[in-house]
Subunit: 79 residues, 2 copies
Amino acid sequence: MKTRVYVTLKNGVLDPQGKAIHHALEGLGFSGVNDVRAGKFIELDLAPGVSESDVEAMCRKLLANTVIENFRIEQDQAA
Amino acid sequence: MKTRVYVTLKNGVLDPQGKAIHHALEGLGFSGVNDVRAGKFIELDLAPGVSESDVEAMCRKLLANTVIENFRIEQDQAA
């Protein structure tokens, strides 16, 4: 079973990586970009029987820093 | 308009970051994880009039290394 975890910085937390991407896009001549926020995307291939609460525990303990980051869990039912 | 870009390593490309996360999860006592793949998630706040083909150009030129990475663009129609 595939489970996807999206980790994003909370609003109000400075995002230097996003700023750098924004600046680089402008340098390449792309206009019309107001803001860029960078995050992480982690795909877990889980054995059957691993519940969403287990994944949430993984996020809280390792995958996300919940002081400055939010996370979102998306389970792929098909696979 | 918010546009989300997901950048993932292609299948077959070694993923040391994912391996490290997998190892750390096992070290924390989480069992049932078969595999972990790490990727990037970039949220762009675009001005109206920036088309999906523009975003694709940004991905090809800057956001993704298309030799080893795939990207997926998701446009948020609501915002």
